[in-house]
Subunit: 910 residues, 2 copies
């Protein structure tokens, strides 16, 4: 007996037994589409009768260079007979013709890559008979010409233009613009012309024998597995070339056979809100195409209840069944042919972030899925949706249609923002604070002294910079929507305007920016505001917390950020950048004084003036984080960042010199001269601090060693604050962190300075504060020598931004608007390593650091405080490497909680 | 019977048996000094009779808090009796008194850390007797007062100033300036005063009993082991605290007992030239101090042959014996007391580089040592001496004495150079070429377009930059002496002069710079010129070649460098920096054109113009390296390096704009306008190429990917050159190397471009050239993913300069004149990682890279072409890591050959 090459949809058990009982094997044998239809058939869902020719048949056919394997064609014909019986229709019978489609279906979906032929079984006779049956000649001959056309192009490789040219000419003849306006006789004529084209190019008549049609179509599908498009696709997608394709032969059903016929699409739950309610659109006496194309006005599915109650009830039951069976919200396609319901497709339905959360939680509570599954059903990025205003989708579509999309750039901080353009930080702040305006701050790029404007603005837009530019970092930190690196936008600060080609936007004009997509629009777009307090989300996150192993901490510099982080579920502060506080306007002068002076006494005086500010900041943080750890990183950035910009200084100086020329009286001149001298002094210092590669220069621990008084002041502020707050009854766990360590001796040296000061303060205060001393691991050398470093550190925190820069030898400031874009575009790099941890390089170094560190201190606490700490893919890596926690911006905390749960659950699975 | 605590010098066999037969144990028991004297005694060398009290006795004394262990004192007295018999003198006998010294001697030398008491045995009676015997009252009472003083300060802890005050007062009384002018009666008085001081502070009379003196001195030496100075020293030097010190009691001998007495020092071979000849200085009727202090004019040792032939003959025999026994050139101290020779010390003699080489080779040929030992006897750095002119030592001393040492900086390229100061490259070249002057080029720092001046100059001096600054790299490459980073030197380019404090040097003044020491002198110093062709050196290096496992290649960009490298023994070119050729004046315009244009055709034209130059350069290299491999690295530096400096452009532009204001006629204005437009265009491009951290920017393979035409041109030049040269019958082995790879995909992409072009050229030429394709490993990520990279590279070459920068996160340009200096000064870093490979960090990454690379390709060729390739300590690391070769500047090749042999021999030993 020959091998079984053909499986009817209701023979799925046989197929399953043949492959050894696993569903993956069934998909491999029958293809995804065939398996899906068979599965529906198995659970009693009415699918149009049909069968699949196996992938094994395809492979055998290709191996024997074009001969069907023994018995296959006979089995195919046999299966067709069974279908005839099931449908009561007969293949080739003019009075009640059976029509079938012949589709490819591989194990993995390869959309559009292989061939399909519809309407097999039509010829002059059956077309005439069918037209009479359904009373729609136009539809029948349109179908018929499609068969000829598909057959010609797919099976016979005739150029499709040859056919299309005829349709174009016909439209012209009939004086119509679209195909749907052509009447039945036009399609009849087209069909005849197509048959002539077919004969001319294929050197044979169009086969009128339905069996011949089926035979040729089956062969064509088999061959299409090795077509160039399909091979290229598989190469790109990494799909094996020896899988082969199955061929599914499915009965054509028609929703346009009268008023007892219909067709429609539905979702088992609301895809926008997640509400549990069957929703959809349908049309009576219509084809599926009509619903999708939107040519006819569809009816709401609820009306079907009234129009065809029996079919509706059956559909409702089927929908329920499928959702239960698939354990997910389903997107369904169906047709009712003369009162009989046929399901054509079921698949997991697309949904908004909000719906995803609600559906997952509801299904878990309904007992349909487990809580673990519910947590895994929501992508971590979807949580972000709840944290930021979003543009209304319709408003976005409308704006695009109206040509109001001005430009796009990097989507570095999610959310939608609307405001008037302000071109500098001072104006942004003035307009926002004093005039109550909503402002979008627009700059070529931002610097630390722009922060007050950024805080006052609703959103930030820059033309330069990348994902980790100052603008991006600050925006994410404060949850401000931001788009950066919009290189097509030209800012003319002189004229206070910006432009893209001919479109000019003046300061004060309204724009809307979408930090989620990176798009910039003219004028205002309406926004909607989701909410983290969504009860389904809160439930989902609480489940996630039960599953995750990683702690989730936050990077926060100010009490208000720490408060938000804690509200969002952060379990500690993983990074307080103590220098951010220095940029505030009342403190900056003291910092500048400290940098400018050559005298130790003046330096100490300046530091003493900063001390109370730092102490208050730290105290505030400790109060908010009562009972939780707070990691304070000592000063990190190069000192020149605290001084004015070099170019600006030059300009100011030249302005002053011009003014002195025009000055009228001696006291003015004297005044100006003094100003010039001061500026010149600052300029000199700025020049002396200048470095070729500041990223690799005098910063981090190098500063602390160079100016021990700075370390001492910061440590004093930490411990004075800790003592004050502890006296209030608050539990305080300060952890002091050294940045940019490359050699353990740096740590040793700082530790001596630091511990002496800490003990001094505690003695003064008469209190004992429990504290920890640790270091950033952000240089390859620190990772490689982590065992030595661990001897002097009780915790590690990976600074993966800098670690990525040094490991790759990439300056992010330059590269993210430069060659990195080229690399990502051409696929040299699969991911932006500043967005997602580079597992092979940076990840390996982290792995070494964790292992070496714990070889010395088995319970060494390891965390991450780089930007990657909020990126789900990177969180997966952190879990894998055995870190204790991730620390990210407050706004990413909920995302990270979910991602950490994903990591733990997927780890458990594997 | 009590334990043996005391060993006479001639009881060394007993000591050796006691410790189990090893010399290390003997040193541990008797101390270094005691063991050395005993060893001389053993082989029959006349040493003053004496004995050692063991370290065990010391430990027992310290453990029992100040009691001599049982039997020790009795043994000590017993030993003294034996000495009395040997010398015919008696301890405490006024007529023929025995005097002894009592010295500490630990296993490891701790110079000056512990106590010594000389002249034990003197009291009023013995002093009188001795004075009569030697007829030199002055000497005897000086010795006596020394005993009282040492006893007071060492044994009784009396402040030494109390004694010194007396001497100062006595000098005043006698109206003399130095001690040596004080007469005998002055010393008699001083001795009496010292005894009174002793009594006052020690609350006891100065002990007149020699045995009491010896008892107290022995105790004092024991105690000094735990003195603060000694403990601190051991902590710093890592010497164990439980070793204890031995006490050596040695008969005092006197070379000032008449004309049959003498004292002297000698070397068994000439310490400057290495010639085999006993040389030294001596004085009849004198003390050792007199020879060393240079108060009296010494006689040449050869005269002793005539003056005291018997003693001389004996001394000659002893010297020979000691050299043979110690198997090294010896530095000897001796005294003849009344015709009797006594050896006081023998130790390995110091020698110049030249002498070290000759002595090692001679001794091997004499059969005294093996060739392996000979190779290990010469420090690799000593070879460098033969490659560069050196300042005459006396000239240096004289210059320092005259206050002509102007400043000092980093000694980045060895050798001495003398010339007139020129403050820019053009003037340096002009003066050197057209006026035939010797020039020292002096700049704040150098840039690629200064190279012509550097080549024309005899030496280079800069005030900024570090060990791997441009100036340092180029200087080493071309063997030009250079001193950089002389921060105390202020250059005033406006006035064409430089100064250190008040000393001003004008352009055209003579200076001398020493690249070996980093010193800068005013005026001319005389130089001497050693030679690599020194026959002893050639022999030594040929032996080294037999022992080493590492290959030694050279970094060379031009045929002339390759020639030198090959002459010095290089076995290949490990790095040809193909871009260096671009800086030559006839090529730079084309490179600039390529960078400036926006049009692909113009770019290709520019590249085509460069092609013939590159082809010729490569052909030249291949010819010189006939039969040896040549690694050509594709373009590496950022493009802005080929364009004019930003600040200079700004200045030029403002100059032009001023000139246009003053221009008289229209055609002048037109001309100036055109120039302005061109400069503005260049300025714009320079600004667009500007990067925050150029070290981490658009360079290396990133350039090759961005501008594939550049890679294609370079590859074409390589293969056209290879074909041309191969046709001449020369064996050519080109290897193409990609710089700055961080991801294997970069390599894959370049390989495709490159191989296509290579095949194209070979087809055009109708020839097949064997070639290899490889990559630099100079980023941590490349090291971490070396297994993946090795799949597409047939060789690795470690670029340890950049690897060190990225591993440490240090920009060498900034740091070597900045915080790195601070770090090295304070010991945070033990070595400059840009001079010597950081084994723990960078070395670990290299280790990973070699292992991962060879896990994929077991015979992967691994080399190093960073600056470290010529550093002996780093070569040791390269050997350990299993590299195939080191590549260094041609001038370092001989050094590297010797260092590689050292590595192999030390490895074999261990």
């Amino acid at each position: 007996m020959p091998k079984k090459w053909v499986y009817l949809f209701n023979e799925v058990e046989l197929a399953e037994a043949y492959v050894g009982g696993n569903w993956d094997g069934v998909r491999g044998l029958l293809g995804g589409k065939g398996a899906n239809l068979a599965e529906m058939a198995r659970i009693g869902v009415p699918v149009p009768p049909g069968f699949s020719v196996t992938t094994e048949a395809c492979n055998a056919y290709l191996a024997e260079s074009g001969a069907f394997p023994e018995g296959m064609w006979e089995q195919e014909k046999e299966a067709l007979k069974t279908i005839e019986i099931a449908t009561g229709k007969v293949f080739g019978d003019p009075h009640n013709p059976l029509l079938v489609s012949c589709r490819s279906g591989a194990k993995f979906s390869m959309p559009g890559m292989m061939d399909t032929v519809l309407n097999i079984g039509l010829n002059d006779e059956t077309a005439g008979g069918l037209a009479k049956m359904i009373g729609d000649e136009r539809f029948v001959y349109d179908s018929y010409r499609r068969l000829v056309q598909m057959f010609g192009s797919v099976v016979m490789n005739i150029q499709d233009e040859k056919f299309e040219e005829v349709i174009t000419a016909t439209r012209r003849d009939y004086g119509v613009n679209v195909d749907s306006e052509l009447p039945a006789d036009a399609w009849k004529k087209v069909t005849e012309k197509f048959k002539r084209i077919f004969k001319h190019y294929a050197q044979m008549d169009f086969p009128t024998d339905p069996y011949e049609q089926l035979h040729l179509a089956t062969e064509a599908v088999f061959k299409s597995w090795n077509g160039k498009r399909a091979v290229d696709y598989r190469n790109a997608a990494g799909i094996s070339h020896d899988l082969g394709t199955a061929v599914s032969i499915v009965t054509m059903v028609f929703g346009n056979m009268g008023d007892d016929s219909a067709t429609g699409v539905a979702m088992t739950r609301n895809g926008s809100t997640g509400e549990k309610q069957l929703e959809g659109d349908y049309l009576i006496n219509a084809q599926g195409e009509d619903v999708v194309a939107g040519i006819r006005l569809t009816k709401d599915l609820s009306e079907m209840k009234r129009d065809m109650p029996v079919a509706y009830r059956e559909f409702e039951e089927v929908a329920n069944l499928l959702e239960k069976h698939c354990r997910n919200m389903q997107d369904l396609e169906f047709t009712v042919e003369k009162g009989k319901l046929w399901m054509l497709q079921t698949r997991d339905g697309k949904r908004t972030a909000q719906a995803a959360v609600r559906i997952a939680v509801d299904m878990a509570e309904e007992g349909l899925i487990t809580r673990e599954e519910a947590v895994l059903r929501v992508a971590p990025e979807q949580v972000d949706f709840f944290l930021h205003p979003q543009f209304d989708l319709k408003a976005v579509e409308a704006a695009k249609a109206e040509g109001r999309l001005l430009a796009s750039g990097l989507n570095v901080s999610p959310g939608a923002a609307v405001g008037v353009v302000a071109f500098d930080a001072d104006r942004a702040e003035l307009w926002a604070k004093e005039e109550g305006k909503q402002v979008i701050m627009v700059r070529p790029e931002t610097r630390p002294d722009d922060v007050h404007g950024m805080l006052a603005a609703k959103g930030i837009l820059t033309t330069r910079g990348g994902r980790t530019s100052h603008a991006a970092l600050v925006a994410r930190q404060f949850g401000k929507p931001a788009v950066v690196g919009v290189s097509s936008l030209i800012i003319d600060l002189g004229r206070r305007r910006m432009s893209v080609k001919d479109t000019i936007v003046h300061e004060g004009d309204w724009i809307s920016i979408d930090g989620t997509t990176g798009e910039v629009y003219l004028d205002k777009l309406t926004t909607t505001i989701p909410d983290i307090k969504d009860s389904w989300l809160i439930k989902l996150l609480s489940w996630a917390d039960e599953f995750r192993r990683l702690g989730v901490w936050a990077n926060a510099d100010y009490p208000r950020d720490a408060k938000r982080a804690r509200d969002y579920g952060a379990e500690g502060i993983g990074l307080c950048r103590s220098e951010h506080m220095f940029f505030e306007s009342e403190r900056l002068p003291f910092i500048q004084k400290m940098i400018m002076t050559d005298f130790p006494i003046e330096r100490r005086e300046a530091l003493n003036s900063i001390l109370p500010f730092q102490r208050d900041d730290f105290a505030g943080l400790f109060r908010v984080m009562d009972g939780l750890p707070v990691i304070i990183r000592l000063l990190d950035p190069p000192l020149h960042e605290f001084l004015p910009n070099h170019v600006e200084l030059m300009r100011d100086l030249s302005d002053l010199k011009i003014r002195i020329k025009n000055a009228g009286n001696l006291s003015d001149i004297d005044d100006l001269l003094q100003k010039i001298r001061l500026k010149e002094k600052i300029l000199k210092r700025v020049e002396s601090l200048r470095e070729q590669n500041p990223m690799l220069g005098m910063r981090g621990v190098r500063l602390g060693i160079h100016i021990p008084e700075l370390t001492m002041m910061q440590v004093r502020a930490v411990f004075e604050a800790a003592c004050i707050v502890a006296r209030e009854g608050i539990k305080v766990y300060p952890k002091i962190m050294i940045p940019l360590t490359s050699h353990v001796n740096e740590l040793k040296a700082q530790r001596i300075t630091l511990e002496a000061e800490a003990i001094k303060v505690m003695n003064e205060q008469g209190m004992e504060i429990e504290y920890k001393f640790g270091t950033m691991i952000e240089l390859p050398r620190a990772a490689m020598t982590a065992d030595k470093i661990a001897e002097h550190a009780s915790f590690f925190s990976f600074g993966t931004n800098d670690l990525t820069q040094t490991t790759f030898g990439i300056s992010r400031d330059d590269a993210e608007s430069g060659f990195l874009v080229e690399y990502l575009g051409s696929g040299i790099l699969p991911d932006n390593p500043f967005a997602t941890i580079d597992r092979d390089g940076v990840g390996e170094l982290m792995d070494i650091a964790v292992k070496k560190g714990r070889s010395v201190k088995p319970d060494l606490e390891c965390g991450i405080c780089g930007e990657h700490g909020g990126d789900p893919k990177s969180i997966m890596v952190c879990h894998e490497l055995g870190l204790n926690y991730v620390s990210c911006s407050p706004f990413r905390v909920p995302v990270a909680r979910l991602a950490a749960a994903h990591a733990a659950l997927l780890d458990k699975k594997a």
